[in-house]
C-alpha cells in the first residue's frame, strides 16, 4: 500500500507538472546545466590532473634530477668555432655519491647526438650513456632481452638497449635482439628493448623535466670510449663545440621525506663550484606537491562554480514551486477539505520539486558525460569520468530539490483551509 501511495503521489506530481510543460521544461533546464557542468568539469579536471601527476611520477618521486644547462653566452659571435665547457662534472658526481647519507643511488647520464642506423633506416634519437643503476632508479622496465649490466660497463661492451619507439622504427617486422645497429660510426649489439613509459597506444606528452620518448641507452664507459667528451654541433656558418662531463645526474633518495633536504643540500653544494649556474635541479616530488596543490585549488573553484550553478537552479525551482503553490491554493484548500493531512500536501509538492530536479539531474548527467567525449575528440585532453561524479551530481540534484522544495511545500501545507478555499 505504501508503494502504491507513493506511485500515486509520483504520478500525480508528473501530471501536475505536465499541465505546464514549458514552465516545467525551463525549470528542468536550469538544473540540467548545473548538473552537467559539475559532471563535465569534474571529468576534465580529473583528466588534466591525472595526466600531469602521472608524468611527474614517471620521473620518480624519490629522485632528484640534476641537469646541465648551457649558461647564457656572451655574444662574441664573430668566431666561427666556439668551445663551451660547462655543466656537471665527474667531480660533482663523486662528491654527491660520497657525501650524503640519504643517497641510495647516483646515476650519471651523458646525452650524445648520434645517428642510429639499421640497414636503410636511420633516426636521430637521444643516445644516453649511463650505468646499470639507471633502470632501478628510473623504474623503467624491460620489454624483452635485458638492461645493461655492471659487466657491460666494466668491460666497455659494445651493447645497447633500445627504447620501444626506436625498436619499432628500426625493426618494424622482427625482434631487434642480438641485431647489430650502427651508432655514429660503430656497431653495437642490441641486448634489450625497454617498455615505453606510457602504456602502448596512449598519447605521450613531455612533462616538465621529462625527455621526449625513445632513446638508445649504452654503457657509460663505452660512450666515453667511442664518442669522447666533446660534441660538435654545426650550425649555419659556425661550429659549436660543447664539452660536458655529465648531462644529467639522477640522485635516488632513500625516503621521500628526505627529498627536500637532499635537494637543498645538492643545490648548496653545486652552487659553491658552479658560479654561473650551469645546472638545474628538478625535484619531481616538489612538482607533484605543486600539482596536488593546483588540483586542490581547482577542486575548490569547481565546488564553488558547481555550488553557484546548483544554487541558481535550486532558486529557479523554488520560484516556480512558489508560483505553483499560489496558483493552486484553491486545490490545496479542496484537498484539505477532502481529508488531506499536512504531510500529504507536503509530499505532493515535494514530489513535484524532486521530479523536476531529478529529471534535470539525470539529463544533466547524460549531457555532462557527453561533454568530456566531445572535448576528448577535439582536443588531446583525456577527461576521466570517475564513478563518483555522476553519483555526486545525482545526490546533489535530489538534495537541491528537497531543500528548495521544502519551503513551498511547507507553505502549501500550512495554509488555512478556509482561506485557501476562498482563494480565486
Amino acid at each position: 500500500m505504501i508503494k502504491n501511495s507513493f506511485l500515486r503521489t509520483f504520478s500525480l506530481g508528473v501530471k501536475s507538472l505536465l499541465l505546464h510543460k514549458l514552465r516545467s521544461g525551463l525549470t528542468t533546464l536550469g538544473m540540467l546545466f548545473g548538473v552537467s557542468s559539475v559532471v563535465a568539469m569534474l571529468a576534465i579536471g580529473e583528466g588534466a590532473s591525472k595526466e600531469a601527476q602521472e608524468q611527474i611520477k614517471r620521473l620518480g618521486s624519490n629522485n632528484i634530477i640534476l641537469r646541465s644547462v648551457k649558461p647564457l653566452e656572451e655574444s662574441n659571435s664573430n668566431q666561427t668555432t666556439r668551445v663551451s665547457v660547462y655543466g656537471l662534472t665527474d667531480a660533482d658526481f663523486d662528491r654527491i655519491e660520497e657525501t650524503y647519507p640519504w643517497v641510495k643511488d647516483v646515476v650519471p647520464v651523458r646525452v650524445l647526438q648520434q645517428e642510429v642506423r639499421f640497414g636503410e633506416r636511420a633516426i636521430n634519437p637521444r643516445v644516453l650513456a649511463t650505468t646499470d643503476t639507471y633502470q632501478e632508479v628510473t623504474g623503467r622496465e624491460v620489454l624483452e632481452g635485458r638492461f645493461l649490466t655492471n659487466l657491460d660497463v666494466e668491460t666497455v661492451a659494445n651493447v645497447c638497449v633500445l627504447g620501444y619507439e626506436i625498436a619499432r622504427y628500426l625493426f618494424p617486422f622482427k625482434s631487434p635482439l642480438n641485431e647489430r645497429i650502427k651508432i655514429g660510426a660503430d656497431y653495437f649489439t642490441v641486448v634489450g628493448v625497454m617498455l615505453p613509459r606510457v602504456p602502448i597506444g596512449e598519447a605521450n606528452q613531455a612533462a616538465p623535466g621529462e625527455e621526449v620518448t625513445g632513446e638508445v641507452i649504452l654503457p657509460m664507459t663505452t660512450g666515453r670510449k667511442w664518442f669522447g667528451d666533446m660534441q660538435v654541433k654545426i650550425r649555419a656558418g659556425s661550429r659549436d663545440m660543447e664539452q660536458v662531463d655529465l648531462h644529467e645526474i639522477i640522485v635516488g633518495v632513500d625516503r621521500s621525506e628526505n627529498v627536500p633536504a637532499a635537494a637543498a643540500a645538492a643545490r648548496e653544494m653545486l652552487d659553491r663550484t658552479h658560479r654561473d649556474r650551469d645546472y638545474e635541479i628538478i625535484v619531481p616530488l616538489e612538482l607533484l606537491l605543486r600539482e596536488q596543490e593546483t588540483k586542490r585549488i581547482f577542486k575548490i573553484v569547481l565546488a564553488s562554480i558547481a555550488g553557484i550553478s546548483l544554487l541558481v537552479g535550486g532558486i529557479g525551482i523554488m520560484n516556480v514551486m512558489l508560483a505553483t503553490v499560489t496558483e493552486r491554493t484553491r486545490e490545496i484548500g479542496v484537498r484539505r477539505a477532502l481529508g488531506a493531512k499536512k504531510k500529504h500536501i507536503v509530499m505532493q509538492f515535494l514530489v513535484e520539486t524532486v521530479v523536476l530536479s531529478v529529471g534535470g539531474g539525470v539529463l544533466g548527467i547524460a549531457l555532462g558525460l557527453a561533454i568530456p567525449e566531445v572535448v576528448a575528440y577535439y582536443t588531446d585532453m583525456a577527461p576521466v569520468v570517475t564513478p563518483a561524479a555522476p553519483i555526486l551530481a545525482f545526490a546533489i540534484s535530489v538534495g537541491t530539490g528537497l531543500l528548495f522544495g521544502m519551503y513551498p511545500a511547507w507553505r502549501a501545507a500550512n495554509m488555512d483551509p478556509v482561506e485557501a478555499l476562498r482563494h480565486e
Binding site: V334, R336, A337, L338, G339, K341, V418
Partner: protein
C-alpha cells in the same frame, strides 16, 4: 418522506427525533479578530443534526452561514463552545486527526465543483479515499458504482474540463460519497447551475436523502431551501428560526 428509518437505522432505532446526532453544536461561537475589532460571526449557536435528516441552512450574506459551514466541515474550529462530530469533540483533535475526521465523516460539495483538473473523473472520485490511512481494496469498482449512482456512467475517463457543469457537480457528489460520510455538506451546490440542472442535482439529493444520507445544504435560494425537510435561518450569527417543510 418519513419512512427513512428503514433505510438507515440500527434494528432497535426509536422514533426519528431521537436518532443519533451526527453533528452537534453546543453554545458554539466563532469570533474573528480584526485589529482591535471583534467580529462575532457566530454568536451562540446550539443545534443537533441527526442521522438521515435533510437540512437547509439559509441566511443573507453576513449572517454567519459560511462560518457555520466551515465549522460543521471541520476546516475551522470554534472559538467558544464545543462541536461534536458523531460524538467526538472537535477541540480534542490535532490537525492530523481533524483531517482524518473530515475525510471519514464529511463529504464536501462546493459551489464551483472544485474538481482537480489534472485527474480524470475516476481519479477525482477517489481523491478522498487515498487520504485515509487505509484506503482498502476494490476501490475502482466502488467508484464506478457511485459514478453510476449519481448518473455519470460512461464518462469515467474524461477530464473535468470535458464535462458540463451539471456533470462536474455529479463528479463532486460522487467524490463526497466515496468514503461513506456521515454528513454531506453542500455549499451553494447549485449556485453555478441553470434551472434545469439545478433541478436534476436537487433530485439527486432527494434520492440520497431517501437512501438515508444526512444532508446539509447551505443556500440563499428559497426554492432550493424548500426542498429540504427542515430549514434553519441564521441572522447576525444566531439562529433566527427553524422551520419544518414537511
Amino acid at each position: 418522506m418519513d419512512d427513512t428509518s428503514t433505510a438507515v437505522a440500527a434494528p432497535a432505532a426509536p422514533a426519528a427525533s431521537e436518532k443519533r446526532a451526527v453533528a452537534e453544536l453546543r453554545n458554539v461561537a466563532r469570533v474573528y479578530r480584526m485589529g482591535d475589532n471583534e467580529v462575532r460571526a457566530l454568536d451562540d449557536v446550539s443545534c443537533k443534526f441527526r442521522e438521515g435528516e435533510y437540512w437547509a441552512i439559509m441566511g443573507s450574506s453576513g449572517s454567519g452561514k459560511s462560518t457555520m459551514l466551515n465549522l460543521l466541515g471541520c476546516i475551522d474550529r470554534p472559538t467558544g463552545g464545543e462541536y461534536f462530530v458523531s460524538g467526538t469533540p472537535v477541540s480534542s483533535l490535532d490537525d492530523d486527526a481533524l483531517s482524518e475526521l473530515r475525510g471519514k465523516h464529511i463529504g464536501f460539495i462546493f459551489q464551483s465543483f472544485n474538481l482537480i483538473p489534472q485527474l480524470n473523473v475516476l481519479e477525482n472520485i477517489l481523491v478522498p479515499r487515498f487520504y485515509l490511512d487505509d484506503p482498502g481494496s476494490g476501490l475502482e469498482e466502488k467508484a464506478r458504482g457511485i459514478a453510476e449512482r449519481v448518473g455519470l456512467g460512461s464518462r469515467i475517463d474524461h477530464k473535468p474540463r470535458e464535462l458540463s457543469g451539471g456533470q462536474q457537480q455529479r463528479v463532486a457528489i460522487a467524490r463526497a460519497l466515496i468514503n461513506d460520510p456521515s454528513l454531506l455538506l453542500a455549499d451553494e451546490a447549485t449556485g453555478n447551475l441553470d434551472t434545469q440542472t439545478t433541478e436534476e442535482i436537487l433530485q439527486l439529493f432527494d434520492e440520497l436523502h431517501r437512501d438515508g444520507m444526512t444532508i446539509l445544504l447551505v443556500t440563499h435560494e428559497d426554492e432550493v431551501g424548500s426542498r429540504a425537510e427542515q430549514v434553519m435561518r441564521l441572522k447576525d450569527g444566531n439562529i433566527e428560526s427553524i422551520t419544518r417543510n414537511r
